[in-house]
Amino acid sequence: MKAGLAIGSLGLLGLLACAGASGSASVNGTDPASIRNAPAGAALLIFLDLELIRPDQLQAGASADLAPGITYSGAGASATYTFDTRAANEGALTGTVTVTGPVAGGLPSYTEAFNLTVTTALAGGATQTWTYTGSQQVTLNGTSAKVSLGGAAPIRAAFTDSADPSSNKSYAFTPNLALDLGDPARVTLSGGWGLAGSNGDAITVSIAAGAPILWTPGCRQYPSGGSLALKLLSRSGNDAADAAFDQGCGKVKLNGATLGLGVN
């Protein structure tokens, strides 16, 4: 028996030498619908739709190269922008953003009233729809080129799915953002936003202090830089995700998966 135990010990030494492990792992981002319909994806897409054209660009008037399909009527402190373009989730974005309020020192200080609809056609004739209603207050910060974006009342983002009504949901979107227009070639956005879900979930999105959301002349419709921290506070537990606009124009990376955005 001692011989057996001794050989057993040698055997385990052999096990150390012979035991092997191998494998592979990947983040599979080939299912954009899964990402778009998840809470973190919705938190990003709602933000991108509502800030599709930055306030300074709205004030200056929609230009064809900025967002084809957006028409402008009115002037300055009272204007309506009519959308017939692509949403961030690649659906059809229609509706209006109405701007009212004073202009101070040539910089915007006004209210944007949203009445937008994003429609995505699914196979079999079903549709998924996001509707955005509510307003955002754009406030000039003194005479500097800094602008705050917020609102006393949140903007409502409601989702309906004609094929799966059980997935219908809504979020109350509350921006708390600061726009720096000091360098036209490098417009940055800092701060964050929150979404209160109809199911009781709360999502907060924080723009990293050292990596503000960045717009550059080469990519005017979507950010081309910046990092975000997303947090979920849910009755079923908390969760977190990270996002970055570091994949090129019209793309965002969420938890390692790259999601293409609707580009006109």
Binding site: M1, A3, G4, L5, A6, I7, G8, S9, L10, G11, L12, L13, G14, L15, L16, C18, A19, G20, A21, S22, G23, S24, A25, S26, V27, N28, G29, T30, D31, S34, I35, R36, N37, A38, P39, A40, G41, L230, L232, S234, S236, G237, N238, D239, A240, A241, L254, N255, G256, A257
Partner: protein, 258 residues
């Protein structure tokens, strides 16, 4: 080392007086459906791993492929080779971050997983002490267990899909006492064994019992039970990997004797 080999040779020579006992070959097809539980924690093949097969993946029995074994049992020694394979599947919303092959499935991710476990065994049984209907012996052999784990999951918060594949090969020496008997004029044949290993805090236990009944001399039924327990604490065999595996179950089969 040489003295151990001499001791084994002497043990093999002991039952020379039993050469009059019967010699038989056994070929069987069996079905074995053990449970599989355990965990991997630490670093394997350079990649982090932290997963519990039951608590995280909720793995349960899925499919069982037929197993085969071929044996020779004679008066002085026996030889056995066997193979079996089982599939396990699970689907669970993980309640903590788990990591497989460096891929982390975050809390609240619905993870679907599958494990294929295959076992190839070979054993030489030395019958050290024999009586007309009973023997005591020593098993020397090896068993290679291969676990192939596939996992995929969609995180409920981000919606991001992730997949991971992990394969572990565990060759384990099979050493320990065994015993057997025959009764009812060789219509009933039984065997049991205990294979035990221990080294630097790691341990392996393999216990088995096998009973065969032959209504006719060449064809019989087999029922057996098998339990394996594998413990490799962190810092024992590998500094940064903690493994536990438990595999317990019963099987049955059809045996040809010739």
């Amino acid at each position: 080392m040489s003295k151990y080999l001499v001791a084994i040779a002497l043990l093999a020579a002991l039952p020379a007086s039993a050469q009059g006992a019967e010699r038989h070959w056994y070929l069987d097809v069996h079905r074995f459906t053990p449970s599989l539980e355990g965990h991997f924690r630490g670093v394997s093949d350079g990649q982090p791993i932290s997963v519990d097969l039951r608590d995280d993946l909720a793995l349960g029995k899925d499919k069982t492929a037929p197993g085969f074994s071929l044996e020779y049992q004679g008066p002085r020694f026996g030889l056995e080779g066997s193979f079996d394979r089982q599939d396990y599947a699970g689907s669970n919303r993980v309640q903590r971050d788990i990591t497989i092959e460096g891929q982390t499935f975050r809390f609240n991710t619905q993870v679907a997983s599958r494990i294929q476990a295959s076992n190839l065994s070979g054993s030489w049984t030395i019958r050290c002490l024999t009586w007309p209907q009973f023997w005591l012996g020593l098993d020397l052999g090896a068993r290679v267990t291969t676990l192939k784990l596939e996992a995929s999951g969609v995180n409920a918060f981000s919606g991001v899909n992730a997949t991971a594949n992990y394969k572990a090969t565990l060759p384990i020496p099979q050493i320990g006492p065994s015993l057997g008997f025959t009764a009812l004029d060789h219509r009933l044949v039984g065997r049991g064994f205990g294979h035990l290993l221990a080294f630097k805090g790691a341990s392996y236990t393999h216990l088995g019992a096998d009973l065969r009944y032959f209504p006719v001399s060449w064809l019989g039924l087999r029922v057996f039970a098998d339990a394996e327990r594998f413990r490799v604490p962190e810092g024992s065999i590998k500094d940064d990997l903690d493994i536990t595996l438990d595999r317990t179950g019963a099987g049955f089969g059809l045996v040809l004797r010739f």
